[in-house]
């Protein structure tokens, strides 16, 4: 089949502040073809596609649609070019029906004729093989149905270039297969399609060509038929880079947290964590790897007492100095306050630093208080100790701030994280959990954080490090637990494993599900 070029990207560069999200990327999207855009988290896939959808505007470079240079400054412009993007976060109005959402914002002549719209929707569905009820309200829909509405919305507007941003992240294997069938039908219809993903088996399954991005750079593209998951992994993760993070050997690690059978369902009833069991040892750093949304957040929040766990779960905590065979303290069923009161010193650096870990409107002193304000019997809080602590953290971690009472919301990302980590470490915890502790930080601050974690480990603290950069996980941690679809797909020794092994574990269950 002759594949004509639908879109050509030429030397596209996009910067956010000092961060280069896309560095001179050139890419060709063709009609009658499904292109996989593959890359790790933060490799710039979504940013690149958002420039086609009119969400971002490129700093440099040129976009050609059907050979003509175009300017896409808004989602409207993208529609006019025939480009439709299905975002990860659906843009639907909950109280509207499918049909109302689909026709929303269209500037057609005449009155609103939902019956005619429903007819057209049914036609589209029949043509490509999906099924939706045009009169169903969005709030009654499953995730997969909502996704279908998004796709139909784009097709209804006559898009012939479709971009799907990680469409399978929220789908069951069966729903994924259905989606792929639809995609093949659309391909046969001559549409150009891009699927953003980091799941290798899906790439192999559905796409004709694979383009790989790594750290904002375009690595290359290959025909799917001529490649293998192994080769793609190599392209995606690159060769292991030496970071020279200091990693002393653990000194007599002892079991600290014993988690068994942790299962979490979210508000929508979707299983986010599936029977997870592991032991975190005092004196070592346990890394947790996995593609985004594999249950990392739920795992940490469950330990902190912020997530409801299904029956049968148990988290036993053994403080430093517990004798062998001692039962330990059960954390499951306790609120965060009860956990604290039962003498567990648990430090937690959550992913959403300002939204969950800190009080943005308060200064460093006020934020130091968050963990200690209940101290003392008086009605008033003790301000002296937190002020001293704030000054210590400021000095030791070199926090750049006009003063200890300057609202932390206005500090830079790195300084915000230093305040949070500094406070959590100051609790002298026996368990320290961190989620994406170096996300968005510069190199120097990242190393400061690595050193702090290692320091804690040498003090006998059980450190749990949820990370996304495999290079860091491999050099910082002692053991790595890999999560995949809410399950533990393997626990490996960080010193002897390879990037490839961890990478494959990250997608292990999906492959099994797809094979079965």
């Amino acid at each position: 089949m002759e594949h004509t070029s639908a879109i050509q990207l030429k030397n596209i560069t996009k910067r956010f502040g000092k961060v280069v999200a896309n560095d001179s990327v050139s890419l060709d999207i063709r009609r009658g073809e499904i292109l996989s855009l593959l890359g790790e988290n933060g490799s710039g896939k979504t940013t690149l596609m958002n420039m086609l959808a009119g969400i971002y505007f490129p700093d440099e470079g040129e976009i050609l649609v059907n050979g003509q240079s175009v300017t896409i400054a808004s989602p409207k412009d993208a529609f006019l070019c025939g480009i439709g993007m299905i975002h990860q976060h659906f843009k639907l109005v909950d109280v509207f029906t499918a049909a109302e959402n689909i026709v929303l914002g269209l500037e057609d002549e005449g009155k609103l004729d939902l019956k005619a719209a429903a007819g057209k929707i049914t036609d589209i569905c029949q043509k490509y093989g999906f099924s939706i009820d045009p009169a169903k309200k969005v709030y009654d829909m499953s995730v997969s149905e909502k996704q279908t509405v998004e796709i139909v919305k784009v097709l209804y507007r006559g898009a012939d270039i479709l971009i799907l941003d990680e469409p399978t992240a929220v789908l069951t294997p069966q729903e994924t297969n259905q989606l792929f069938t639809v995609m093949r039908n659309m391909k046969a219809d001559g549409k150009a399609m891009v699927i953003i993903t980091h799941k290798l088996h899906e790439v192999m399954d559905v796409s004709d060509r694979v383009a790989v991005l790594r750290k904002g750079r375009y690595i290359g593209d290959v025909a799917t038929a001529e490649t293998s998951p192994q080769k793609l992994t190599d392209m995606m993760v690159g060769h292991a880079v030496s970071l020279n993070i200091e990693r002393p050997a653990p000194e007599n690690p002892t079991p600290r947290l014993d988690a068994k059978g942790l299962t979490v369902y979210d508000a929508m009833g979707v299983k986010r964590l599936d029977n997870v069991s592991f032991t975190a040892m005092g004196g070592e750093i346990l890394g947790i790897a996995g593609i985004a949304g594999s249950g990392q957040k739920e795992l940490l929040e469950a330990i902190a007492g912020l997530q409801g766990l299904s029956a049968g779960a148990s988290i036993l905590y053994r403080p430093i100095g517990t004798a062998e065979g001692d039962q330990g303290v059960e954390l499951v069923g306790k609120t965060p306050l009860q956990i604290k009161k039962s003498g567990v010193s648990l430090a937690f650096v959550p992913e959403d630093r300002l939204g969950m870990g800190l009080v943005g409107s308060l200064g460093m002193t006020g934020n130091m208080l968050l963990r200690s304000y209940r101290k003392g019997v008086g009605f008033f809080t003790d301000r002296k100790a937190p002020r001293k602590l704030a000054e210590d953290v400021m000095e030791q971690l070199e926090v750049v701030t006009p003063g200890v009472n300057f609202p932390v919301r206005r500090l830079s990302g790195g300084n915000v994280q230093k305040v949070l980590v500094g406070r959590e470490i100051a609790q002298e915890p026996s368990v320290l959990m961190t989620a994406y502790a170096v996300r968005g930080l510069d190199i120097n601050t990242s190393y400061t954080i690595y050193n702090l974690l290692t320091e804690q480990k040498m003090k006998g603290v059980a450190v749990i490090y949820v990370g996304e950069d495999l290079d860091v996980l491999l050099e910082l941690c002692d053991r790595i637990m890999v999560l995949c679809g809410g399950q533990v797909s393997g626990i490996v020794d960080a010193r002897s494993t390879t990037k490839e092994e961890v990478g494959l574990l990250m997608t292990r269950f999906e492959k099994e599900a797809a094979q079965s």
């Binding site: 109005v93 509207f96 929303l104």
Partner: protein, 329 residues
């Protein structure tokens, strides 16, 4: 209660209800765009005084005023003055992103101030309280739409009101049609529910909010006009009644669960509840006051009920009270 009394009660309920129906209809349109405008009482004041003043100056300077001119002048003046109040609110909350609650309350203070200030001046000009004469205007607002004397009970119940009563009903039905059956209505509802989605679908969020708020304010203002022209027969009194009615209109929006057609019977029900005490024998004056509490109590009950049932269609517009900023790009 005799049948005459019953008819009287229903008549006064409908007249009372029409004042707050206008207020509530305007506020429904406003809230559908995501703006919670607590300035309804102020806006109704603005509409009332502007309509009255326009008629007054016209009739004051014309020995033989034309009823049609009276009608058009007062109607347009009331709508425009109230819409200007809405524009002020929109500019502050949408463009300058000021807090909606605080801005609305300020508008209530301002509107009642302006209205009572000029109302007082009008009274002075006319030679004292109750001396304002807009007889021609008031007459045309109060004229029954049909000659009912030979139509019996049916006529007195359904046809014995000025045209504003029927206009309000028509407006409510038109609003239902607009919100539910037209593209513009669909777009407007999307703005109030999820402005980010509306924005992504190419709908101009700011424009929709401005238009809905200003037109909504204009409609609310007609409630003030109806009150001055018909309810108190073309006079002005600085007694704060419009303010109380304005808050009742805000309550009616909740009671009608943001549906304009529900507001029709809701407003008459509020009227019945409000006037019922007159017809219940043996009530002391103090217990009459307790009766007037009923509209608010049922509104609270409705509010609690919808939050308990959590039925999606009955919730306030999802982004009600929140300002919308497109994320920095």
């Amino acid at each position: 209660m005799t049948s005459t009394q019953l008819i009287q009660l229903i008549q006064s309920a409908i007249v009372f209800g029409t004042v707050i129906l206008y207020g509530a209809l305007g506020e429904i349109l406003t809230e559908k765009s995501g703006n919670l405008n607590l300035g309804v009482p102020g806006i109704m004041y603005l509409g009332g005084i502007a309509g009255l003043a326009a008629s007054f100056f016209y009739e004051f300077n014309n020995p033989a005023p034309s009823p049609v001119v009276c009608l058009v002048l007062s109607f347009v003046a009331a709508f425009l003055a109230a819409a200007l109040g809405g524009l002020l609110y929109s500019f502050l909350t949408i463009t300058l992103r000021a807090n909606q609650n605080v801005t609305g309350l300020t508008l209530t203070i301002f509107g009642s101030g302006v209205a009572n200030f000029f109302g007082g001046s009008l009274n002075t000009m006319a030679g004292g309280v109750g001396q304002i004469s807009v007889a021609t205007s008031s007459a045309i607002y109060r004229a029954n739409i049909a000659n009912v004397s030979h139509l019996g009970v049916f006529g007195s119940l359904f046809l014995s009101y000025g045209f504003m009563v029927y206009l309000a009903i028509a407006l409510a039905i038109a609003m239902r049609w607009f919100l539910g059956r037209t593209r513009k209505g669909l777009n407007l509802r999307a703005v109030g529910e999820n402005p980010a989605t509306a924005d992504a679908a190419g709908i101009n969020v700011t424009r929709n909010k401005y238009l809905a708020t200003c037109i909504g304010a204009g409609i609310s203002g007609l409630g003030g006009l109806y009150y001055t022209m018909d309810y108190i027969k073309g006079t002005w009194a600085n007694d704060g009644t419009i303010e109380a009615l304005g808050w009742l209109a805000v309550a009616l929006v909740i009671f009608a669960v943001w549906r304009s057609v529900n507001a029709i019977w809701g407003s008459y029900l509020f009227g019945l509840l409000f006037w019922m005490y007159l017809y219940i024998p043996g009530l002391t004056r103090s217990s009459q006051e307790l009766f007037k509490m009923l509209p608010y109590l049922v509104t609270i009950a409705v509010l609690i009920f919808i939050s308990l049932r959590k039925k999606q269609e009955n919730q306030p517009p999802a982004s009600l009270g929140l300002a919308y900023f497109r994320e920095e790009r």
